[in-house]
Amino acid sequence: MSEKTIDPAVEEMLALAAEMKIETFWDRYQAQLPQCEFGLRGICCRNCLHGPCRIDPFKEGAQKGVCGATADTIVARNFVRTCAGGAAAHIDHARHVLEVIEKIAHGHAAGYNVTDKQKLENLAQRLGIQTKGKSEIEVLKELAKEVAKEFQRQEGYSKYLQLYTTKKRFEKLAGLNVLPPNLDLTITESLHRTTMGVDADPVNLILGAVKVALADGAALHISTDLQDILFGTPKPLFSKANLGVLREDSVNIAVHGHVPLLSAKVAEQAEKLEKEASSAGARGINVVGICCTGHEVLERYGVPLAQNFLGSEMAVATGALDAIIVDVQCIAPSLITVADCFHTKLITTFPIAKIPGAEHIEFTTENADEATNKMIKIAIEAFKKRDKTKVHIPKYEQKILAGFSVEAIVGALSKVDPSDPLKPLLDNIVKGNILGAALFAGCNNVKLPQDKLHVTMAKGLLEKNVLILSTGCAGYALAKAGLMSPEATFKYAGEGLKAVLTAVGKAAGLNGPLPPVLNIGSCVDNSRAVVIVNALADKLGVDAEALPVVACAPEALTEKAIAIGTWAVSLGIPVHIGIVPPIIGSNLVTEIATSKAKDIFGGYFIVEPDPAKAVDKLIAVIDERRSKLGLKTSKEI
């Protein structure tokens, strides 16, 4: 295996890409080397035109920016802006989904409707809306109004955060003055406090980062909830992962991006246009997923996963994709260059995300059906022009069992104990059959071999009976590595975990064990993990910081990953990352992130690029928490 990837399909494609002189992420990374050390350490400030100001890490030259900002201030300010960038993406995502809910309620969204009525009613009730005797439209209207307050409230606290944090945690966060009144406001505040001459106190700035990260978390919860209402709450279903899911005889369409408002419509319209595809000589239309939006349609419709971020170019390089339909976030601008080597159409859809050379078809709530219909027809036309001699589909695919929403997990557990579904889970944690749980989230990063940390660490933790949940690009990595099938439980899970997964799987009528990695969805669905953690904490009468749970974003890349990680830390969950973040230019900020945060929040960042060492560190964290709860540690079991 190369230093670039551990995915055999991507490895095979990279060799072909090199032959075809297709430039890849790895080529461009090489061309970027050496990267600027000021940037890598976070000690470059460009927030005013006096700059760029740089702090000499050797302490021989400048130790302050022109305004007098120290390395601590500059690093902390940059960290706030990183979190704000990530949060902005999720908040905008959440608002977009809310807009559709609002438009359905007012009859302006013909292409959408409510799929999970139960979830709508539950959420409405939890938000304090009286649902009895009201029509679905009435409830929807009130729900939209109530959720809209998350973007409008000028005073007080985000109700959504209150809904999704334990009482203890909420009080702690209120005491630290880090609870946002509304989500958008935190972005404005973050940019304001970090502009020239405002906040210079690194500790206050870090608390500002926590505040915007909490807004990010609220946006994840809103997105998941509303998407479940619109498109249905995921249930376990079988599908496949990796480039082998592309079909030589079909119109292949990749959905890439994050917002299911688009991808769900593409999946739906594709079914309607099957006939047109066959008259074009295709066996049918094959929709596949790249990045988070792939999870959205996998979890609900069983759409197979093609590739995660670092594999996105290689999916196009197969020459088998007729169209790649994108919305927002993680869409590499390089895709158009690869698409131009083939017949592949790159279609952009959102007004804030255009790519020169791509075909732009504006996608709105009102024209959802027509626009996606048009996009698929473009793909069918492109299929006719596909050059078969240029098609190369690597024959790698893995069976996966996905769709594990909280409702699905609780549903499976309730087959074991209908009166108290969480009891079997807790009992097994107490007994040590389940040592703890780890959420694998986050991206691919070209600085590490694609998927290597995700897969190596997951195998290491499973062996030690740590149950794994997954989202986003991490989910793709584990799916492609064959860790998401029921058979994987026999292969990778430790004895205790194997027994539990087999018992629950059988009780739930799955004809076999649950997979050792439960895929809970896209990056916004990290919210599902927090719902489970909080439910367990509530049941035990403790806070998340007491539970033997960790989060890992070993191949973190985006601002969103940093925002989500900071949110998890602020909820009391230790977060492992395998990439050294640009905070090491300040000893103070590094110390806050990696150790002081533990005293304040219970959660903290663990930076470790070596997968074996990272597993040891995470097991040590889980053991530490187990022994505090009076439970046996991994060494005593």
Partner: protein, 169 residues
């Protein structure tokens, strides 16, 4: 590796962006852990000094002089010439700073009380690899002179031919 007398570290001042990549790579290479972080932890400083003001920047380092004043003035014989590289033997350095004072380029640093300067990374300078704009090169001196001569020649000949009304494509 190249220890040839005729190899020189050359700077094209028009290409220097003052990014400090040369300085960072220098410190990293001379640290045990081979990274900037370990250099900071170990107290290793860059031997390349990116010097300048609003007019521009110039990476300054030891020129490894033919008749090195630092070597001649060193009272303890700590500075020597090996394979055309001027080297400081730290064990013999007493920290008198005579080399520091006499270097016409200001290329000697005092680090933890001892003289410290560029050692050309034993013939394969890391700063050159690190330079993102190729402002720093390590080449045959004859090649550099040839480049300069060619550039000068081109300017002269173009002017001359233009005056005569002749053009070559």
């Amino acid at each position: 590796m190249n220890f040839s007398q005729t190899y020189v570290l050359a700077v094209d001042i028009s290409r220097c962006m003052a990014c400090f990549s040369c300085a960072m790579a220098c410190a990293a290479f001379h640290s045990k852990g081979k990274s900037v972080t370990s250099a900071i932890d170990e107290g290793v400083k860059p031997a390349v000094i990116v010097f300048g003001d609003q007019r521009g920047a110039l990476p300054i380092q030891c020129q490894h002089c033919e008749e090195a004043p630092c070597m001649m003035i060193c009272p303890t014989g700590a500075i020597s010439k090996e394979k055309n590289i001027i080297k400081i033997n730290k064990a013999n350095c007493i920290g008198c700073r005579l080399c520091y004072v006499i270097c016409p380029f200001g290329a000697v640093k005092i680090v933890e009380g001892r003289a410290y300067k560029c050692d050309l990374c034993d013939g394969a300078p890391e700063c050159v690899n690190a330079c993102p704009t190729k402002a720093l090169t390590y080449r045959e001196e004859a090649e550099i002179a040839k480049d300069h001569r060619y550039k000068f020649f081109s300017e002269v000949i173009e002017t001359y031919l233009k005056k005569r009304g002749v053009s070559y494509v």
